[in-house]
């Protein structure tokens, strides 16, 4: 147990100190959300209607790009080999690293979302629904991303491969996340229905992600 706590603290500390993690993800989030009105035009009514979808897409892409920080640093300096040789179960170690990664990249996105949503004219109710769905959905994105990051960890230029692997698996999270965020604003569907499915997806990814990622790490590093 202390090993896992130690990994959690270490990863969090490293991510906070090295920089380029949390703030870079939030910055990328902001840049993407800024780009889209340039493409769509400044019609604020349109932007308000598709605001939750834009924010969800930007959060997905920001999570995706932050994924190579999960195992990349540890693979480069050899800590990953030490972790694999250690006594702590690899699945739990990977789960802990995923939690640490979410705390340092996903959670800042959730906090920044309502502020950045202001440029899309997001009102308070929509912002609250969006924050709830992102809070539940970004862990799912991180844990699904664990699988892609583990498969591509030994590749030097595997960035696009991670995207190609993770994005199809993240589609259900995106669908239900946006459905829940939109349901709070408009539409006959209640917020709870897609939200509970989103919670289910996150819980499932907590199990599937670490097991698949641990298996992939064992195969890749031999």
């Amino acid at each position: 147990m202390t090993a896992l706590v130690a990994i959690l603290l270490r990863d969090t500390r490293v991510a906070v100190r090295i920089g380029g993690g949390a703030l870079m993800a939030v910055l990328f989030f902001l840049v993407v959300v800024t780009l889209i009105p340039f493409a769509l035009g400044p019609d604020l009514a349109l932007l308000q209607r598709i605001g939750p979808a834009i924010l969800w897409l930007a959060a997905l892409l920001a999570s995706l790009l932050a994924l190579d920080r999960l195992f990349g640093g540890d693979h480069e300096d050899g800590s990953l080999d030490l972790i694999l040789m250690g006594r702590a179960p690899l699945e739990l170690v990977v789960l802990t690293k995923g939690i640490a990664h979410w705390l340092t990249t996903g959670l800042p996105l959730v906090c920044a979302a309502p502020l950045i949503g202001l440029i899309l004219d997001l009102d308070a109710r929509a912002a609250l629904a969006l924050v709830l769905t992102l809070l539940v959905g970004t862990p799912a994105l991180t844990f699904i991303g664990l699988v892609g990051a583990a498969i591509a960890v030994t590749l030097r230029r595997g960035g696009l491969l991670v995207a190609v692997l993770v994005l199809p698996l993240a589609v259900p999270v995106l669908i239900f996340g946006v459905a829940a965020a939109n349901a709070a604003i408009a539409g006959p569907v209640s917020f709870g229905t897609p939200f509970t499915v989103l919670c289910a997806l996150t819980l499932a990814s907590f199990v599937v992600g670490p097991f698949a990622a641990a298996a992939a790490l064992r195969q890749e590093i031999e």
Partner: protein
């Protein structure tokens, strides 16, 4: 010779060399019969002759999903039982299954234009089949990106098993959601709801396409085994020269 002897690549190559011409012949005969049945099938009272796109669309869907199920079993063979030819089968099946899924998507789109008025709609079944196609492409990408075949095999196997969660979603998508795509008419509890004049050509085309799948799979597996031998020989020659 028991079937387990086929796990030996050389014995498998012998078997494939003898089996592929026969399977190819059976495929041609099956297609001849199936196309005959298709041309003789009656036109639908509403859709006219357009209903016959179904005879390409449904086998494509079934074989795309069968291909992925085959790859999932092969993935288990690689990871759990370390079967020597499991990864060869998985690598060979991926492009073939992807091609059948693409055929399903394209024929479905062409069928949807006159029937539904649109080439595409984002309902549950079409979306989940499109996601299946993307997962196929991801698996092919893993095979092409990782250089060592055995490591690529294990990475692709893990990703295949994670992606296999999409298969029940596709099958039950028409029940779980309100979809524009019609519900299950053949593989369902209770008898099929299609008239036999349409069901027989459909099954004939499915059988023909399945024989085609198996023939192409064996040929691709043979190619992959030979490709690995060439690679090993090249590596041996390169290390002997240095």
């Amino acid at each position: 010779m028991a079937i387990v002897d086929l796990a030996n690549p050389s014995r498998f190559l012998n078997f494939a060399n003898r089996a592929i011409p026969w399977l190819g012949g059976v495929t041609l005969i099956a297609f001849a019969f199936a196309i005959n049945q298709t041309l003789a099938a009656p036109d639908d009272y509403q859709q006219g002759a357009t209903v016959k796109i179904m005879f390409l669309h449904v086998p494509g869907a079934w074989l795309g999903m069968l291909g992925f199920a085959l790859m999932s079993i092969a993935a288990l063979g690689t990871l759990v039982w370390r079967h020597p030819l499991a990864d060869v089968a998985a690598k060979a099946a991926a492009p073939i299954g992807a091609a059948f899924t693409l055929m399903c998507l394209i024929t479905g789109s062409l069928w949807g234009r006159p029937m539904w008025g649109t080439y595409w709609v984002w309902d549950a079944r079409l979306t989940s089949v499109l996601v299946l196609f993307l997962i196929y492409l991801g698996i092919i990408a893993v095979w092409r990106t990782v250089e060592d075949p055995s490591r690529a095999a294990r990475a692709a196997a893990i990703f295949t098993l994670v992606g296999a969660l999409d298969l029940p979603i596709i099958k039950f998508s028409v029940e779980w959601w309100n979809t524009l795509h019609q519900g299950a008419s053949v593989l369902r509890l209770g008898a099929p709801t299609i008239d036999s004049s349409i069901l027989i050509p459909l099954l004939a085309m499915t059988v023909a396409f399945t024989f085609l799948f198996v023939t192409l799979l064996l040929a691709a597996m043979r190619n992959e085994i030979l490709r690995r031998r060439v690679r090993t020989l090249r590596l041996m020659r390169a290390s002997a020269a240095s």
